[in-house]
């Protein structure tokens, strides 16, 4: 079997019930979660707050014991601690020992990851260099900002060159430059055929970095998407933008007379600054609206057919589940 066809991670039928005490109800946090990630793949893990993403990640890392289901990493049971030599993990809110310096922290994790003794120093230097923290090696962690702590989290995850990186909100706390550097690093890791599992709220990043993604809603996987074919899965939309000063009110009245009121699913209207955006799900309706606008000499500032984004799909799935 070629390396790319092998699964780096396989989660099947994972359920997790919170074990409450006699005063608290136990609750189902994860329900029959199944997905797999191939070696060398970048996989996005999406979900709203409280969807169960972090619980799933903790179960993968063996930090929580699932109620049912199984997890394998590179074909081995995830409960085998040795398999974690192949994993690097960036937690959602990275906390490290305040009393250690940046270099001491990454050195600690190099030892824990099983980096050979004679390679520890060079591995730590490489990891710090990758996240541009080399000049801050002697800084105590307590003196670092959130963004810099996030870089330390990344450095400790990549030290020892693990094959699989599990990144829980890796862009959290980073400034735009930091985000750019992290994205570059992820691209480099992808080129080196590392497997990336990225959990993020920032859908653009997932769309940009990952080839596949799962969307988790209230403890269940609602969709597994091939992001290269995302546009086929998400409805198209036809968008007309009218400046408020150029007869927006008149255009709206025309649309309502022709297609019925806003919210009757023919078109949606939203205000953005000084302009109004009209979204039509049907091309024929949009073209008809355009013709009406030209007839009434209403100035249109933009007309385009747009593909729905991952965000559109995400919102749709979450709302479906909620309703």
């Amino acid at each position: 079997m070629s390396e790319h066809n092998r699964n780096a991670l396989e989660v099947s039928g994972l359920s997790y019930r919170y074990r409450g005490n006699w005063l608290q109800d136990s609750g189902l946090i994860l329900n029959d979660v199944s997905f797999s990630v191939r070696e060398g793949e970048s996989f996005g893990f999406l979900g709203h707050n409280g969807a169960g993403k972090t619980t799933t990640i903790k179960a993968i890392l063996g930090l929580t014991r699932p109620t049912t289901g199984s997890i394998t990493l590179f074909g081995r049971d995830n409960r085998d601690p040795d398999v974690r030599k192949l994993i690097g993990y960036v937690p959602e809110q990275p906390y490290f020992y305040d009393h250690l310096t940046v270099r001491e922290t990454v050195t600690l994790f190099a030892h824990l990851a099983g980096v050979p003794q004679d390679q520890v120093s060079s591995s730590v230097t490489t990891a710090l260099d990758a996240v541009h923290l080399l000049p801050r090696g002697k800084s105590p962690l307590r003196s670092l900002s959130k963004g810099l702590t996030q870089r330390v989290a990344m450095a400790q995850a990549i030290v020892g060159d693990p094959k699989l990186l599990i990144l829980d909100e890796p862009f959290s706390g980073l400034d735009p430059l930091g985000r750019k550097e992290f994205k570059d690093l992820f691209f480099e890791l992808r080129q080196r055929e590392k497997t990336l599992v990225i959990s993020s709220h920032i859908l653009e990043d997932i769309e940009f970095l990952c080839s596949r993604a799962s969307i988790m809603v209230r403890g269940e996987i609602r969709a597994l998407l091939d992001l290269s074919q995302l546009h086929d899965n998400v409805d198209r939309c036809y968008e007309i933008t009218v400046e408020q000063s150029s007869g927006d009110e008149a255009f709206r009245r025309l649309c309502e007379q022709r297609f019925g009121g806003v919210g009757e699913s023919t078109f949606r209207c939203s205000t953005q600054g000084s302009s109004c955006r009209y979204e039509f799900s049907e091309r024929s309706h949009a073209e008809e609206a355009l013709a009406l606008a030209l007839q009434e000499q209403i100035s249109i500032s933009l007309y385009r057919a747009s593909h729905g984004s991952l965000e559109d799909l995400f919102v749709k799935l979450v709302q479906e589940k909620a309703s």
Partner: protein, 261 residues
């Protein structure tokens, strides 16, 4: 095995660094040195052997302060890891839970030993100034205090793995130290038949399950020149190591089952 050893060493080194860089350690050393210095005043107003009083008071201070330090710093050791979630990043690596616990245990014990050595050096210098010579038997007393610390550190780890609140961990661990030092009292209850029947069985069970710190503790015997068997230190060492290992094994078994999220 070598990899396990490296991981335990890395965690204990980090724990040791945390303690060494904490101001609490130096505050305890300073306070202990002050108390030892005060023992000179006690000695001077005591009828009889001034040096003997200073040794007695000094060894008592050494034992008490190092145990208190273990209890205070150790009771928050695991709690901090869980509350701050630093444990998540550690256990996400190929670290067995027993390795994590062992790292914490050795880190705490080494710090306690360093603290003991600092205070012992202070006491020895102080006594040298009074006596003009160095009593080598004091080394034996320091060693036996070290054995007590081994058991106290294991007790702190044991309670940390079952109790969540640092206050309770501290109270229980210090309670073990006090009870272990006062085991003769339990025997008194039995010998004098103050407690009989089921109560006596409970007391007997307590007597055999609590650490026999009263036997390990040799300071009084050394200060008052009570002869000690040559095997006392050997048996003391074997007992302390075995008892600590036993506590550690239970602790790691309990910690294995604990959810860390």
């Amino acid at each position: 095995m070598t990899e396990s050893f490296r991981r335990v060493r890395a965690i204990s080194k980090s724990t040791f660094r945390e303690s060494i860089r904490s101001k609490v350690l130096y505050a305890v050393v300073l306070f202990a040195v002050l108390v030892i210095a005060v023992s000179g005043i006690f000695g001077s107003v005591t009828i009889g052997d001034q040096v003997r009083v200073m040794k007695d008071f000094g060894l008592f201070s050494l034992s008490l302060f190092s145990v208190l330090y273990c209890v205070i710093s150790g009771s928050t050791l695991l709690h901090k890891e869980l509350a701050k979630k630093t444990i998540l990043t550690i256990l996400a690596r190929p670290v067995r839970r027993w390795e994590f616990l062992a790292g914490k245990f050795f880190g705490m014990f080494f710090t306690a030993v360093v603290l003991l050595l600092l205070m012992a050096t202070g006491l020895s210098i102080f006594l040298y100034l009074f006596e003009g010579s160095f009593d080598q038997r004091m080394l034996l007393a320091y060693y036996h205090i070290g054995l007590e610390l081994l058991i106290v550190c294991a007790a702190v780890i044991f309670f940390s793995s079952i109790v969540v609140t640092p206050m309770l961990i501290g109270l229980f661990s210090f309670g073990i130290f006090l009870a272990g030092r006062s085991l003769d009292l339990l025997l008194y209850f039995l010998d004098e038949e103050i407690v009989v029947g089921f109560g006596a069985t409970v007391i007997q069970a307590m007597y055999w399950s609590l650490p026999h710190l009263n036997s390990i503790h040799v300071s009084d015997a050394l200060v008052y020149d009570v002869p000690l068997s040559e095997l006392h230190t050997v048996w003391g060492t074997v007992y302390s190591v075995t008892y600590s290992l036993f506590l550690f094994l239970i602790a790691q078994k309990l910690f294995q089952r604990r959810e860390v999220s």
